[in-house]
């Protein structure tokens, strides 16, 4: 009896470690090949050098400043695009007339890859903040629109009928049935949009910007500063992981009932 419990505990903490094994092995291997000199440090700086670079840039204030700007653009673009997508998806999901009026237009626009708009946006809006926020907003709008819309139109009609039979009025129907039933799909869109948010921002900042992580990477490229380039890539990876983590926790909190 006791033995199985102990085994289970070991098994449990081991499970927590497993996902970290491969990244750690890769970093150690990377450090090794650079330290031993199999690869030149100018072509591929060691993880330790990248870390030092990160520390220096943090102390100088350059990294926090650029990261702050990127985060700001990402968040504002996401909130604007996400809200529009959500509201539009919600209205079109609920109302047949709105659906007729908007949905085919939205579906058509959705098929344009939003990154293809970059030249147009630069010409029309310049390379200032609005242009980048606009691109992120457009990128985030569609996944959230599509998922909200589909979440709502696929709510089980039988449950809606039950709500009617039990006397629910429209607002209570939306609050107690339609929205919670659509929430899993909506959160899927949320998670997907977070990914789109970073990709869009990176591309926009790389092509035209004078600040932000993407700019830091492009700038470093001109000085052949491999350390900073790799640092920026790692930061993207971390930010991506972070937003995924946030999205996942949203699901855990709001979809607890799925058990």
């Amino acid at each position: 009896m006791d033995n199985t419990i102990i085994l289970k505990k070991i098994n449990f903490s081991f499970r927590k470690i497993i996902p970290w094994i491969i990244p750690i092995v890769i970093i150690l291997f990377w450090q090794l090949i650079v330290s031993v000199g199999w690869v030149s440090a100018t072509i591929l700086p060691s993880p330790w050098d990248v870390l030092k670079d990160g520390a220096e840039l943090t102390v100088s204030g350059e990294l926090p400043k650029n990261m702050g700007i990127s985060l700001y653009r990402a968040t504002v673009g996401f909130v604007i695009g996400g809200s529009i997508g959500f509201v539009l998806g919600f209205i079109n999901g609920l109302s047949k007339i709105a659906r007729l009026a908007f949905d085919s237009t939205v579906q058509m626009l959705r098929n344009i890859p939003h990154l293809a708009l970059i030249p147009l946006v630069i010409l029309l809006m310049g390379i200032g903040e609005p242009a980048k926020i606009f691109l992120v907003a457009i990128g985030c709008m569609f996944p959230i629109y599509i998922n909200t819309y589909h979440g709502i139109i696929s709510v089980d009609q039988k449950i809606i009928e039950m709500g009617h039979a039990y006397g629910l009025k429209q607002s209570a129907m939306i609050r107690k049935i339609v929205f919670p039933a659509a929430l899993p799909t909506i959160l899927m869109g949320f998670r997907y949009a977070l990914g789109v948010m970073w990709t869009t921002l990176i591309v926009a900042e790389t092509i035209s910007s004078s600040s932000g992580i993407g700019y830091m990477a492009t700038n470093a490229e001109q000085f052949m500063d491999m350390k900073t380039i790799i640092l920026c890539i790692l930061i993207y990876a971390l930010l991506g992981k972070l937003s995924d983590y946030i999205a996942k926790n949203f699901e855990i909190i709001f979809l607890e009932w799925r058990g």
Partner: protein
């Protein structure tokens, strides 16, 4: 004792795009009785129940409950469906009270949950419940607003034989205690004869015949035999 009428159905027709489902339906439902609708699949049993619930409107004729015409959702009636139709995002107790506007109804909800044996699950989500427990929860939800009329559309169809029998007993007990008029739709004639004191046979879009069943709820061998005879008679009428 003169029987008081709760529901009167007069001259009701119902069709879907040229396809007639029910015609010339006349029926009185007495207060506190347990009535069953039986008949072939697709014969219109659920449709008649949904008309009484106000979920559908007849093409002709009138349905009244306690003198009031049912021309929208019938809020004196509560329906139990073949599927549990629970709200999985709400706790068991919230599923009971979900349609209520009064926040102080938790006492009644607790009482009902204990009546159907789900007290220990009050705060759990419905995913934790078995099929039989889910239907017991759906029953508690139906009883919550003290309806005059309980409409049961094959709510036990998906349950195993033993659970089904227990549910039958629970429903009969509760409906008797709370003096609720009940209409049960079922394809299981034995279930109808076990639970109902009247059984209406729906056939060829009509109410073909109504069978009285005075042997309901009596446990003697003689009553059982009599019920079996009524079952056979109904089955023969359905088939020929």
């Amino acid at each position: 004792m003169k029987k008081e009428i709760l529901i009167t159905i007069r001259g009701v027709n119902k069709s879907y795009v040229k396809h007639i489902v029910l015609r010339e339906i006349d029926l009185d439902v007495y207060r506190h009785e347990f009535l069953a609708f039986v008949g072939k699949s697709g014969g219109g049993k659920s449709t008649l129940l949904r008309l009484i619930a106000g979920l559908e409107q007849p093409n002709a004729g009138k349905i009244k409950q306690g003198g009031h015409l049912i021309n929208k959702i019938n809020d004196q009636a509560r329906m139990m469906f073949q599927e549990d139709r629970l709200l999985p995002w709400m706790s068991v107790q919230d599923n009971v009270t979900f349609a209520s506007k009064k926040p102080d109804d938790q006492k009644e909800a607790k009482k009902l949950l204990s009546l159907v044996g789900l007290t220990e699950y009050a705060n759990a989500f419905p995913t934790k419940l078995s099929g039989g427990q889910k239907q017991r929860l759906a029953l508690a939800r139906a009883l919550f607003s003290h309806p005059d009329l309980l409409l049961l559309d094959e709510p036990l169809g998906a349950l195993d034989a033993l659970t089904r029998r227990n549910m039958q007993d629970l429903i009969m007990k509760i409906c008797q205690q709370r003096k609720i008029t009940t209409i049960l739709v079922t394809h299981d004639i034995n279930e109808a004869v076990r639970m109902a004191n009247r059984i209406a046979l729906i056939k060829d879009q009509l109410i073909k015949e109504i069978f009285d069943n005075p042997y309901r709820g009596i446990d003697t061998n003689e009553a059982k035999e009599k019920r079996a005879l009524i079952s056979d008679e109904i089955l023969n009428k359905i088939l020929n």
